[in-house]
Amino acid sequence: MRGPKPLVWVLVVGLALAGSVPVVAMAEDDLTPTIAAGRQLFLSAGGYGCQVCHGQVAHGGGQVGGMIRGATLGQFETSLAEVPVMALLAPSLSVTDRLNIVEYLGYLGDLPLVSLTYSDNHWQAQTQALRVGQWAQLVIYNDSFETQALDLTELGLATLEVPPLVTLERLWRPTSASFAVAGVAPIEVMETGVIQK
């Protein structure tokens, strides 16, 4: 892997200055039944899932539907009624299905997004504003044709081997107002909350 520089970049991205909080992974089993059901639908509804147009964790991922984390039931219903490619899917989703999907999108909307992408021979990062002790979601994408390593030990997470064109997701809780990732270009804080791939 060829990074921009073999050193650790440290940037202030959070605003809160609370004390350190132990890093504890939130297991998928911890999701409530409705959120878990919504997640399952998001990944598989219609045989392809909402993910195909909105990215694996509703972050957009460069796809046509864009980022929809935090979408409300009203917004979802409007899209099902008015967006042609979604209208065909609408009859297959029960009221409970729709509520569960919105529950899952709400859960994602409460997780600030940290996007780490390998592209053009180096890792790049963007992040929404983080708060110490608040769960965030890392979305890691390898936009190359070779497996790439990403050292996340500075975040208290394991080093990852990211296969080609694969998106991985990890939950992470910042323990300080700054964070660093080895070999990653300076981390850009998003103001709009919209991830640009």
Partner: protein, 145 residues
């Protein structure tokens, strides 16, 4: 004389179309409209398309051997090769004219906005990659739009 020339030209175009027309099976979901738009583009290019709506599309893709990382909404099968997603017709015909050794097919992962079947009619295709994949699990860039 002009009529003869016109008729000859029309005949030539028809023969050309038939020469490169393919028989295509497309596996898709009945709830996906953009897949149907892609099918219409292939048909308008002269190909014969049969659409299948399997009960479990994801399982069908697995059985066909579509790499999960390259997944889109529909899978086309032509002469035993796989074509996943919104691939431009020109790339498919070029691939079939000279398939690389070990190649399994082509893919445009996800749903890029400016791809065939997604873009508004007449708009240029852009902002996506056509990716080749082979029987060794390797990927290669075929074309960047």
């Amino acid at each position: 004389m002009k009529t003869l020339l016109r008729s000859t030209a029309v005949l030539f175009v028809l023969l050309w179309s038939f020469a490169f027309a393919e028989t295509i099976t497309v596996y898709k979901s009945p709830t996906c409209g953009c897949c149907q738009e892609w099918v219409a583009l292939m048909e308008s290019a002269g190909h014969s398309v049969t659409v299948e709506h399997p009960f479990n599309l994801e399982k069908t893709k697995q059985q066909l051997g579509v790499p999960k990382a390259l997944g889109s909404c529909h899978t086309a099968v032509i002469k035993g090769y796989l074509f996943e997603g919104h691939i431009p017709e020109v790339d498919i015909t070029a691939f079939l004219a000279n398939p690389p050794a070990g190649a399994k097919g082509l893919a445009v992962p996800g749903m890029p906005a400016s791809s065939p079947g997604m873009a508004a009619p007449g708009r240029a295709y852009q902002g996506f990659k056509v990716i080749g994949f082979d029987d060794q699990g390797r990927y290669s860039l075929v074309r960047q739009y």
